[in-house]
Symmetry: C2
Amino acid sequence: MRSLAIGLDLGGTQIRGALVDAEGTILSRRAEATPASAGAAAVVAALARVAQEVGAQARGAEIVGLGLSAPGPLDAEKGLALATPTIAGFVDFPLAAELSAATGLPVRLENDGIAAAIGEWRFGAARGLGNMVYATVSTGIGGGAVVDGRVLRGRMGMAAHIGHMTVVQGGERCVCGNAGCFEAYASGTAFLAKARRLATLDAGSALHAAGAALTGAAVFEAAAAGDDLARRLVDDEAEMLGLGFVNLLHLYSPQMIVVGGGMSHQFAALGPAIAAYVARNALPPFRDVPVVRAALGDNSGLVGAGAIAFEAAAPAQRRLSAAG
Amino acid sequence: MRSLAIGLDLGGTQIRGALVDAEGTILSRRAEATPASAGAAAVVAALARVAQEVGAQARGAEIVGLGLSAPGPLDAEKGLALATPTIAGFVDFPLAAELSAATGLPVRLENDGIAAAIGEWRFGAARGLGNMVYATVSTGIGGGAVVDGRVLRGRMGMAAHIGHMTVVQGGERCVCGNAGCFEAYASGTAFLAKARRLATLDAGSALHAAGAALTGAAVFEAAAAGDDLARRLVDDEAEMLGLGFVNLLHLYSPQMIVVGGGMSHQFAALGPAIAAYVARNALPPFRDVPVVRAALGDNSGLVGAGAIAFEAAAPAQRRLSAAG
């Protein structure tokens, strides 16, 4: 019998689900809004509904399990949402167990950055490599790392919280409460806030008129058209991403860094400057490591979640990856 | 027949060697000065001499191999010293092969931070844990990480170059050429340079008289005696170490951080302030991870190198750790 898995990607605004095969192909998909303020039970019910809808397309194939990509911090080992700031009721909440009860399927929970890293590693830009880092640059910055052919999970499955490494001591306040985090400087949120702030101050810039309505895409368009402020904003963004990525090179020694999330849509504008920063500032043996755009776009986490369900269903492989 | 291994620790000033058993017990040891400016052949000859001297104490036991801890950057997979700044002639130098030819033993080369991490993980403070990070804070800052029960090596065995993560964008120039590295702020070298600079400017401090002859130990003594400048220097050092360690918590999710190197001799003064920084600034689920002093003192790298030789001699185990 053919084996399939369900991948779910729980975001602050949307729940997305897919029926996937072992090669990462999406056979069916559904989405609905996240009832983020309606409490944990409502979120579990919505997740189960999406799972059942995509599962109904299995046409007699066996569904081996369900992988759930969710925002951290969570204890992936125990299946707990510890304190998700964007979803009401997700405090020490047994998310995996509740979803398993609601669907009748084995559920494996994974931090969203790690799930997307698995997607890009198994089926995307870093396919076949033993060492890679995935960074999602969006509202915040998250990620996942594969080293020596294994996905890093660490204590409570919390490795690779890359958005919260301090890169500017005493710098900008971050949503996490700490100061100077990578996320507070290089996320899409940080980029847009800075662009709007500087645009209102610079009457000579093409960005000035939009003011508080300015979009990130408009900044990249104006930069391409030669606007000085916009070009400086794009250069600064590439520099901060380069700085964070150099840290990731030195810490994980990947063969490739894969960039996903909303900011990756602007990779054509950012990529060359990021590569130049790396070539200039990394220790010499790390300078030639490529930084590339995610190959699976918005689906990295979804197919990664499916791959996690397959992994959980293969006991021998699972034991190997949890060794020690 | 009893099995033993030789561990060698190559430093910029000293070569140390030990005959060790599989439990990390040191049975015999030797040291000699590193002929750092005499060329690669002289260094290999000195390493071989130390190895032969400790090996001569094996009394009929089998010597399974030799593990060599050396300063990076090096390609541990291929056994190459790539560009060691402190040793003349170590540029793309086939160190493992040359030492193997000189000793007749199989040689496994390892970055010194990773070797010391293995020592503390297998036989020291982090014994029995599946997740740990080791940081040596000395002339520079190096380290190694164990995640999910495995030592991280990464591309070319270069993972965990923790001293060269940028923590202060646009900050102090580092020996690596980049700016704002953790090492440029928190190493013993950085601590002492700052102490001497500020001591010459502060006639009211007990540190003032020593001026350029000031030692690190004297700063810690003066801090304990209540000198304002000395206390500020110690507080700043603990804060910078805490900042770097919070990054390591978020990136690797260890169950413990182990601190070695010269600065760890002052752990009684630094430890509480480091723990306070972590408790204040890490993401909540990481705040209770202990930061402790290395248990093996200066021998972490030496017994780690021995453990690496045993690992290399056990093909099944080696295959497992190189999987993927």
